[in-house]
Symmetry: C2
Subunit: 202 residues, 2 copies
Amino acid sequence: MTSIPFRSGPDQAAAAERSDAARNRKRLLWAAKELISECGAGGLTMDRLAERAGVGKGTVFRRFGSRAGLMLALLHDSEVDFQSRFMFGPPPLGPGAPALERLVAFGAGRIAYVVEFGDLVLAAEDASRGRFDVPAAALWHRHIEVLLDDAGFDADSWLMAGSLGAALDPERLLDLVRRHGVAPERLVASWRDLVTRVVRPA
Amino acid sequence: MTSIPFRSGPDQAAAAERSDAARNRKRLLWAAKELISECGAGGLTMDRLAERAGVGKGTVFRRFGSRAGLMLALLHDSEVDFQSRFMFGPPPLGPGAPALERLVAFGAGRIAYVVEFGDLVLAAEDASRGRFDVPAAALWHRHIEVLLDDAGFDADSWLMAGSLGAALDPERLLDLVRRHGVAPERLVASWRDLVTRVVRPA
């Protein structure tokens, strides 16, 4: 079967341009992540990003508007990636593992994520209206609630999901890591301990 | 035995003045609490407070500087009161009850406190540098940690105390009560459930 394009001519050119733009965006975000992992979020400037990605500075500004816009785009990208991993990715974070193992993996994933994207996460929280309106936060909350139910938790799983989620609050995690020098592994161990105690049968 | 004052003369007058001032301060704070319980924190203005306490508006401003200063004084007063109740007051909040019962009572007390002083608590958090620098927060954290140890919790009680404390985050509790209409009793029940599961032996 030959596939017949719905539209042709100028629209094909537009589609090619969109795909170019998408590739460009990916390349810029990748370069931005590299810069952050090398120098921290403070080291990410529009100049350095343009240089690293091998594009003009004007391109970077046209694409993201400002450094804040770049930060949000980066974070959005990483959030979407994390979400797809816990919703559709391989176990134990994704479906296929027992609920308790998925809960442990979810917390471990969040901790790694917050440690990696710390300043970005905080900047995005400040930019959103309130800490509890973030759509991603609603999704995590629901995810924990469903896993609690699946693990046989027999009490108020909606509120308990919120209480457990509070332990993964990015500001709290970053405070523990940066100000108190707590190793991420210790955070993961304590999260594992917490959720294991919460779901184990009486 | 007759008590002999260390100093006399002008200092006695000063002491009387200080005691007058302290009485005045108490009366103003009491009137402010009445106004808040009647009309919410929004209903507390310097004018209304002066009228309710039967003093001049100048007195109110001299005492607290501004409405923000009044709010902080009010909160400080309530914090000190809450602290003295969980440290020295009657059980189960104070010493004398089993550690788990004290943990439950502590959460119930915090929830009631946040519901009562909601806007004040949020205002004070904004005013402080960071949510985790508040001296009171350090005290609650330590209190939960000690109670976990007393209850026989055998893992990382310092980190676990922080995770449990995060469930009592004022901003979170107020969001649940105000935006989601969760009854404080339901919050207390979920807190009881959480700490009971965390401390029960494996």
